[in-house]
Symmetry: D2
Subunit: 398 residues, 4 copies
């Protein structure tokens, strides 16, 4: 009896050929697994295709709520933007898909799992490190990385083995999308001086009429819980906000980023809900976090984003930073008002029952309760070390 | 003969009354100093007013180029945004004004210098720590902090001593502006839930017709040197970019920030050139800085911004971080293309002779020279510590 | 009826005079509170003295276990050494004493609490910030800081008001001691070039015969729980280890440190148990913490130590770092063997059921299960960014 | 004509067999290079052996001064201790040897260089990343990693090809030593619970009679320049201090460390001069560095040590941190007095012309010029954020 491998299956060319290759070249019984993380594709069709390509079984798992509640919520609390910019679209879904691969592998008694990533991207790292953490006993196969076929070879192998090629050869882009955003690479954007062609946009293509130009987002302990006062599951909230912000063409990111494998790559992202929620969350933190914890959280949030980008979702450092963030996020409850205009959004109001903004301290009006007399002593002692340092030099040269 | 004090003089109500108060209540001969840091005010009129208010001398110093070359250039290289957002408008001008205060104090044989800051803001800290560093021997006076007058008292004292009140009592805002931006506080914005009124905007009021919707910014070693190929002194470049970006209503920032003195305050900034140059600079760094130095520079840039915000421009830590930044910035030479739309701007191209973006490594096309076979070993060793950690627990619970 | 103030009372000159001064000059009814944090003094005598000096009540609280379990245990888990050296002797006791001050103040309906610290030390900051956090409504008095008396004045005032001076005028040192260590300042050590006189040592005076030259310390989740296999409450464990290590003259620290108030001060500490437990704990972490969490914990531990040194025990950043540390410390269970010699100690063995040290990976013997073939790919990709950076420059100049 | 490879040659078994293997199996002309970094071996004998083993040429380079001045000096300025403990013995010599390999390769027109490291250590990373930076065009060979021979195979291959085995088979340790220290691995120490056998020590074997029990070390800008007032080249100073401290059995380090390749390994180091100089340097920094720069330098020093440990000596982040350290180290000039006792040393005096220790600020005597009145205001504003935070919760629960 053949060994079973569970393959993370997207329905695209690479994973379809991988399915066939694992079966033909390596003699595996292949179980195809497609995880719905909000990528808005017809996963029943994908399932059918897997079976047509030779899978002994094909599973579709709806993980949208788990993705929102266990992954996106953590990313928001962490203010997670890799290199201060990228809101971790694909980085977030890989560990979740790894969890599901292990579950299905256990169910089928599989000895191996497989992914369709190449050798130069980040996703191989994310899958393999997550799988090493979750199931150190399972073998992980990376057929696309191993077989050494270029695109033409792949198409040729597929054709030779009866893999139907639904994907148009015209589409020059490599795309990954989920509830939290959409990533587009390749094509003419491989020249970082070239502007992205207008046909790359989908989530922010705009064109939806009569959407609101303002929303009030409610948060509890750092997690979004309502839009305009209506409580929503996070997955639904993100989905609705994707449509609103996307209709204003808000959420486009064009950057060159540093991959874990030592390569710089030009990436274009669309993350309408993500950029809005991250900014709204930061603004709510501005009134609810004490200065020192706020500053430390910026640093640790950057570290968190790098860890998750690098595939270390399941790692003791990530877990420990999560504990820090959970503690720090306790007061981050309140509301933020966001305004939209074409290509733009901004926050113009934030309020919280646990706000540390104190009108009576801040105001320049007469009801002020700040003790001005304290300031002189504060400033002198605050600057005492600098004064001593400068005195040793007879004063700096102005 | 009276002792001489040099007062940083803006021509506004507070410093005019302070001038009179130092003269009348403290018996000083007052020298008024007004420093042009690009605030676009009629400083000759300010000078005349100082003399009319009783100054024994009134000096106007044009420090626009020094401000750009010695302060703004450093802020750009540091990617300086306090709390990841505020581009340090007033924080940058205070140490420069302190330098000029000391110079003029030496020229006049003054025993003291004075500023017009209150006890609850950041600027008192910035002036006094800078002055302690530059001239530990000079006494620093803060009449506005010390006298304990509220706004009504101040107006009354001024009127009683013949200080002409040019400032309209209607303007409810406290404003500070210079070449790098404009800060607006107070009025109804003291409620952080209230949107800023439409009359607060000046640098980004828009309305200039026919300005370009695209510029190419050239940088050398991290400093902007040209616009659309035309080499410009930095002060002129910033000034021109303020007009271009401001006409698109780009550069507005609405935030609650953490002051050094333990207070949260709502601030509204307009910094059109600043936000564009900082983003363009970051994008150029994305292709010219190696990953680890880029990540470390983000952290140290945040620290630099906090130091400068806190008034520690002249401090050994700031100097040492500058040395780090100067070394790291050596390859940051190249061009960045910025696009504008109403309320929005974005970068869609960046190029550099020292770019580390390597098409042959990054591309998914066949001329790829990345060695895919290396990836398997890399990923396994990269994840080895996590694998060992997880094995000790029999694999994590998925 | 007089208002009640609760005074942190040590029985020394300063707090005795402060007690009298609060009573005579400020008209308070004074409740004296003496907290036993292991300082090995006769607190009943101190209590009697407080009453003799005029206190309306005098309380002695035994807080040794609370000090060990709630404060010292956290310091060990944090590897807390301020400036990488000082194990936080006094810094740890101040917030605990503040807690007890508030408890007693509530019990007596006091409107104020008081401490006997001067204006140039750290302890005023620690008391006042802790008290502001615990009881923002209580007034905090600092009579010694406020009255402006020098030592001679103080003695004179005491004598004039019948305060018995038990303290010898000969002792030139300022001393604070507790279960976690002993701090000595002043005297000839105010010259940082002068060696500490031999009479400053007490905890490490040595001279105890026949103590063991080896102990095995057991830890659970980062906290010491046993000595040589015998389970002990932490307070008892620390006490016993103070005697063992102190008998070997281990635990002396001579340093110049940076106070929060901008002053450098020469400090001599004796902390026999502390230095041994901190080193043993670090060595146990070496085998139980994964590399990245270990490295991050060093940084956050330094930050934690600075926060606690600066008086921010009760602060949201300290709380959030504690959450990080608690999570990271979960696997830090095991045993460490410590050896002693005169003036010296070292760890020469550590073991743990959750050890990540893997003989089969580490050994150079033939049972090795490290995959050597992985290394080539790892090294190449690990260095790829550096290679690209160097290639841009035609290779660095050797 | 054969291609030329330059091999880093130690004269030991592994590199001798590697020499032969490169010649026989790969057909190279091998040039052997032995670099004197203070390892106190007879390198002329090593040279002779290389030629006897078949090298076409054998070079010995005395790099002791370069090692001290370009590598050790930087490590001291950085306070470099990996994981707060290991003073970077082998990590420092690898990039220097890489420099010399490239120089010799250029001289001989070699197309490749080679090292004798295995696949599970750090040194392969250090060599290969340094070589990639210095000479991206050269091929790097790692015969010992590649050939897959265990120890027995290696000996057998050597014997079969006439490689004389001078090394005793009894010595169970793997040793690397240089001017900065000595590293010992393997044998029974592969059990981290086992104490190091007494025969592992060499640099700290003690037994030298009548060496001084005190030295005064002079520093200029962070670099040691004199012992007891006698100016010495750094290499000579380190050498002499190795003998003095070693005679007191000072400088032993026993730890489990985290290798770059994901393995924990037990390491025993002897670094007599290193531990003394690093501590003396830190103590001098305590009086010459302002608090904030001192704290930041601790963090960056840890990062520097990790970078160098990881083989990133030639990297832009290391270079930028060096610039920070050079700037910060400018005032680190002065003298430190070190005392020795068996197994122990400590600093008991430090002084500097640029000392920031200010007796008049620090003293509790009456000539005090600290303004005590400033403290109240300082403490209140310093704690204002915490007070506000606690007030929102009605005070923390004590």
């Amino acid at each position: 009896m053949a060994e079973v491998v569970v393959l993370a299956y997207s329905g695209g060319l690479d994973t379809s050929v991988a399915l066939k290759w694992l079966q033909v070249e390596r003699g595996f019984d292949v179980v195809a697994l497609s995880v719905d993380v909000g990528q808005q594709e017809d996963l029943e069709a994908v399932r059918t295709r897997a079976l047509a390509t030779g899978a002994i079984a094909a599973e579709v798992v709806d993980a949208r709520d788990a993705f929102a509640d266990d992954y996106i919520a953590r990313a928001i609390k962490a203010d997670a933007r890799y290199e201060n910019r990228y809101p971790l679209v694909s980085s977030l879904s890989r560990p979740l898909i790894s969890e599901r691969l292990v579950e299905v592998a256990r169910r089928y008694g599989a000895s191996a799992v497989a992914h369709g990533c190449t050798g130069k991207g980040n996703d191989q790292v994310r899958f393999e490190v997550a799988l090493a953490a979750l199931a150190p006993d399972l073998t992980v196969l990376a057929p696309v990385r191993d077989w050494g076929m270029n695109r033409e070879d792949t198409i040729e192998y597929g054709r030779a083995h009866g893999v139907t090629l639904t994907q148009s050869k015209e589409n020059p882009y490599s795309i990954d999308q989920n509830l939290w955003g959409r990533a587009v690479e390749c094509g003419e954007m491989e020249d970082p001086w070239a502007a992205p062609p207008s046909d790359v946009w989908a989530y922010t293509a705009g064109g939806l009429a009569s959407l609101p130009d303002q929303v009030v987002i409610g948060f509890e302990q750092g997690v979004p819980v309502s839009l305009d006062g209506e409580r929503l599951p996070l997955a639904a909230l993100v989905d609705r906000l994707n449509r609103i912000a996307g209709s204003w063409q808000v959420g486009r990111i064009d950057m060159v980023e540093n991959r874990r494998v030592g390569i710089k790559s030009r990436e274009v992202y669309e993350a309408p809900a993500a950029v809005v929620l991250l900014e709204a969350h930061r603004q709510l933190e501005d009134i609810t976090l004490e200065r020192e914890v706020a500053h430390a959280k910026i640093e640790l949030g950057l570290r968190w984003a790098t860890l998750v980008y690098d595939g270390l979702w399941f790692s003791p450092l990530k877990h420990a930073i999560d504990a820090f963030i959970d503690e720090a996020s306790k007061p981050v409850t309140g509301e933020v008002r966001v305004r939209f205009a074409p290509n733009a959004f901004w926050v113009d109001g934030r309020r919280s029952p646990s706000s540390l903004y104190d009108y009576e301290l801040a105001t320049y009006a007469s009801e002020d309760r700040f003790r001005h007399g304290d300031a002189e002593g504060f400033v002198r002692i605050f600057g005492l070390g600098i004064r001593t340092w400068a005195e040793r030099q007879g004063g700096l040269r102005p």
